[in-house]
């Protein structure tokens, strides 16, 4: 297989894929890395081998079905055995397989060499979002689906990147070896970006390694590939590949934002401010189970509207959100969200949908609760 036809095919596919919104895409993306292109080459090679074998075998069968019929007066032959041909059609396929196994092995060895990386990112799967942590950089964030519920429920026109768009994409530099350390906080997920030809399971309690070296800046999209519960179809992956200076600038900005976020904990909040922030954070983190209207999806995901937790003592409410409910789908958000967001969500939940507790839980309350637990 020469490389050029693939490049042309790749460009053609990219045109169809990238420009015309592409509903008729029929082939794998050649991707944007050396590995993804060699995977694509393997795919096309084995595909054409199958096509050739198929044409020969099906051709013979179809020929036979046209010619060797009783209606054409054909008398049946009597042969029913030949050790020679049996050996032949055992050995020839075996040789084809060996020919195929050689490049496959080479590619696999390359894929498994995750040594000497320029940047390490820990990727953690959560039900149902991704968390990215830039190791040694003090930068970490969640990446949530941003497609509005109204689009999913067909009340609004669907955008171009419907179900494949997030609030905080993963940002990586171009032409750098980026190593991913992939794990999960709950069930098994799989982190998949077709343009990298990287698909690796995110398994709770284990860390899998994978790596990429993207050669073109741009935005690349993928999805969770392992069934992980209700919203498995709603936890996409978006990767922005930036030039090295752009990446450095982005990283610096991220660090500043993290500092600013921390300062919010000591800020004096009003009930309105917290509720407003809480409504947004609730929509991102809570609404997929407890629903935007607070009515939940009982019995798996209970209602918060009028619930004893959301209208009872604040202590119990904080406990539930921070520590989660073991044995249920309710995660411990203390590890996932900032004190500000937890306080905002709790405050919102206690004062929304007709819940009229009227009190306010501050970021400091959350901090105190966490300290008391330690």
């Amino acid at each position: 297989m020469s490389r050029h036809p693939h490049v042309w095919m790749g460009i053609l596919l990219w045109l169809v894929f990238g420009t015309a919104q592409a509903s008729w895409t029929t082939n794998m993306t050649p991707g944007a890395t050396e590995v993804s292109r060699s995977v694509f080459d393997l795919h096309m090679t084995i595909f054409w081998i199958c096509v050739v074998i198929g044409v020969v075998v099906f051709g013979a069968m179809i020929w036979s079905m046209i010619i060797h019929r009783r209606s054409t007066g054909q008398e049946p032959a009597h042969f029913h055995e030949s050790t020679t041909v049996e050996i032949l059609w055992t050995v020839v396929p075996l040789l084809i397989l060996v020919v195929m196994a050689v490049p496959a092995t080479k590619t696999l060895i390359n894929i498994y060499d995750s040594s000497e990386s320029d940047l390490d990112i820990q990727v953690t799967g959560y039900q149902w979002k991704w968390h990215y942590k830039y190791l040694g950089q003090d930068v970490e964030f969640f990446s949530n689906l941003t497609t509005p519920q109204a689009q999913i429920n067909n009340q609004e026109a669907k955008g171009e990147n419907y179900l494949r768009e997030v609030d905080n994409p993963l940002v990586i530099p171009v032409d750098a070896k980026v190593r991913f350390l992939i794990t999960s906080a709950d069930v098994i997920h799989a982190w998949w970006v077709p343009a990298m030809a990287v698909k690796k399971d995110a398994i709770p309690g284990f860390i899998n390694e994978s790596w990429t070296r993207m050669d073109t800046p741009g935005t690349y999209r993928g999805q969770c590939a392992e069934l992980c519960g209700k919203d498995h179809g709603f936890m996409p992956i978006v990767v922005e590949v930036k030039s090295k200076p752009d990446f450095e600038a982005w990283l610096a900005k991220r660090k500043e934002e993290a500092l600013a976020e921390k300062e919010l904990t000591s800020k004096e909040w009003t009930l309105e401010e917290l509720s407003a922030r809480g409504e947004k954070a609730y929509a991102t983190n809570c609404a997929s189970c407890h629903q935007a209207n607070g009515e939940g999806l009982p019995p798996m995901f209970p209602a918060l509207k009028g619930s004893s937790v959301a209208t009872g003592p604040a202590e119990e409410h904080i406990h539930t959100v921070v520590e989660g409910r073991p044995g249920t789908a309710m995660a411990a958000f203390g590890k996932q969200l900032s004190e500000v967001d937890i306080a905002a969500i709790i405050t919102y939940e206690r004062n929304a949908w007709g819940n009229k507790v009227g009190d306010m839980v501050t970021p400091k309350d959350i901090l105190d609760f966490k300290k008391a637990k330690e």
């Binding site: 894929f17 919104q21 509903s23 008729w24 895409t25 029929t26 082939n27 794998m28 993306t29 060699s38 795919h43 084995i46 199958c50 198929g54 013979a60 069968m61 036979s64 079905m65 019929r69 009783r70 209606s71 054909q74 049946p76 009597h78 029913h80 055995e81 041909v85 059609w89 055992t90 396929p93 397989l97 196994a101 496959a104 999913i152 429920n153 067909n154 669907k158 990147n161 419907y162 709950d186 069930v187 098994i188 998949w192 030809a197 698909k199 399971d201 709770p204 309690g205 284990f206 899998n208 999805q223 392992e226 069934l227 519960g229 209700k230 498995h232 179809g233 709603f234 019995p299 044995g327």
Partner: protein
């Protein structure tokens, strides 16, 4: 071995036919009655599992959520898989085995008739239990038919316990069925019926039965470990307690991969009888067919981790499972070449059993090709858990297992009912199934390669066109199966009387008894030259 048949009872047995009323079916030990019950049960499950598939395809007809919510969608994909695998395909082959193996080897009945009755009646109990979970609080199983932990343990709905017991019952049933098949084949063959004279359907079932006995206990083991994790505080599959979620997958697929051959080998056997009949030419390479089947069965124990290429297996392990998987293409290829050579220079006619059989060979081979592609581990990183995989296994299971069952049903219906089925309607059934099936599953290759993961209820517009085509094809395929029901009922109620041997090219002991086959056959063993 085959001579141990007690001639003394032969005359006596001829005197009583079936009992009257419902109790005939509840208490029967007759292999034909039990075979009939298995076949009807499996067809009922086929329609039920099919209706779940219709819900899935209706939801996927367009982007957006229209018909069901993600929670229920996941229950549908799970139940569709479970019902089709354990309720439709496996019992259908056990039904065929019950009916045909004694007739093919010249035995008066199955070797263990009372156990035979019990192994059937476990199935309605198991599936009532399984399907009832859909109506329970929290809903039915929603973790896929592969039920990976910890989604199926810590994060499962409460009904998972009922699911586990249902699997246990199905396992008991399958193991007893398999023991019965082995005992019948090894002990009750007519004098002169040496192993290498057995029809291939008998051979493939013998091998299948050994596979069943080997792997059903593994399945029972894995669900029992789940039960322990859920209710008794163990941590087999929970990393937090020192267990390993990946262990679940290893154990499951150690069962699961042989399982997929359990679902296809008997179809290989049936097609190996049907193609020679309608080509009017003996099967090419009988011996190599037997050896190829045995090789496939042995290899099936060594390839399980190709379902798990992305879980992070070390390089050497990955290479081993890639090579072993590629190797399966060799014996499978031998079988395809043998079938094609059987057709070559025959004098073919294309009645419904032959149509389904030829479609079986061609379309199963397409599924084999995509299987070979999936075996290439680096490429599998792109295919894994996408619609490409869904396309692959539906190509081996629908035109493989299901078409094999249809071919067998049309082939032996005259023997079972004493009437010829309506050939025109049967051909219509074939062509509608053929078109519907290809329309439903071929586009799935494309959306899978384009990047659509499996088991999602909603998708981006880039996958919309092919999904709509798939759904239309699936609806057509589903509706067509009601035609099959009509054809079978029509054939039972009447039709042209079938002679003992309705197919002029057919060969085998089953064609030496009258049609319909009397309630008791081969009470005196036939002599095989």
């Amino acid at each position: 071995m085959s001579a141990v048949i007690d001639h003394g009872h032969a005359g006596h047995d001829h005197h009583h036919g079936p009992a009257k009323g419902l109790m005939r079916w509840v208490l029967t030990t007759n292999h034909k009655d039990i075979g009939t019950m298995y076949l009807w049960f499996s067809f009922a499950m086929f329609l039920l599992g099919g209706s779940f598939a219709m819900v899935i395809r209706a939801e996927l007809f367009q982007p957006g959520l229209q018909i069901v919510q993600p929670e229920f969608f996941n229950q549908m994909t799970t139940m569709h898989g479970l019902v089709m695998v354990f309720g439709a395909v496996m019992p259908a082959f056990v039904g065929l085995a019950n009916w045909m193996i004694p007739l093919m080897v010249g035995a008066p009945d199955m070797a263990l008739p009372r156990m035979n009755n019990f192994s059937f009646w476990l199935l309605p109990a198991a599936f009532t239990l399984l399907v009832s979970t859909l109506f329970m609080e929290g809903g039915g199983p929603n973790f896929g038919w592969t039920f990976y932990a910890p989604l199926s343990t810590t994060y499962a709905p409460a009904s998972v316990t009922f699911f586990i017991f249902a699997i246990h019952l199905m396992g008991f049933s399958s193991i007893m069925g398999a023991i019965n098949v082995i005992a019948t084949i090894l002990n009750l063959r007519a004098p002169g019926m040496t192993l290498m004279k057995m029809p291939l359907f008998v051979w493939t079932w013998l091998i299948t039965a050994f596979l069943l006995i080997a792997v059903m206990p593994v399945l029972a083991g894995v669900v029992t470990m789940m039960l322990m994790d859920i209710h008794f505080g163990t941590s087999f599959f929970s990393a937090a307690g020192g267990g390993d979620p990946v262990l679940f997958q290893h154990v499951f697929w150690f069962f699961g991969h042989p399982e997929v051959y359990i679902m296809i080998l008997p179809a290989f056997g049936a097609v190996s009888s049907i193609i020679p009949t309608f080509a009017r030419k003996p099967l090419f390479g009988y011996t190599s067919m037997v050896y190829a089947t045995a090789s496939i069965a042995l290899l099936s124990f060594l390839v399980w981790a190709h379902h798990m290429f992305t879980v992070g297996i070390p390089l050497t392990g990955e290479l081993f499972f890639m090579y072993a998987t590629m190797l399966i293409a060799v014996p499978t290829g031998v079988k395809v070449f043998n079938w094609a050579s059987t057709m070559w220079q025959g004098s073919m006619t294309f009645e419904a059993p032959m149509l389904f059989s030829v479609a079986f060979v061609i379309l199963f081979t397409i599924g084999g090709f995509s299987g070979l592609m999936l075996a290439i581990a680096p490429a599998d990183f792109q295919y894994h858990d996408t619609y490409f995989v869904v396309a692959h296994f539906h190509y081996v299971l629908v035109p493989g297992a299901i078409f094999g069952i249809f071919a067998s049903a049309y082939y032996w219906l005259p023997k079972w009912t004493g009437h010829m089925y309506d050939e025109t309607l049967a051909k219509l059934h074939f062509w509608m199934s053929f078109i519907g099936m290809n329309m439903a599953f071929f586009p799935m290759h494309f959306v899978g390669l384009a990047g659509m993961p499996r088991r999602i209820p909603d998708y981006n517009m880039m996958f919309a066109n092919f999904n709509m085509i798939s759904s239309i094809g699936a609806f057509a395929f589903g509706a067509t199966q009601l035609l099959f029901l009509f054809i079978v009922i029509k054939c039972i109620r009447g039709g042209k009387p079938a002679p003992a041997k309705p197919w002029d090219g057919a060969d085998g002991l089953e064609w030496t008894v009258p049609s319909p086959a009397p309630y008791h056959t081969f009470s005196t063993p036939p002599e095989v030259k």
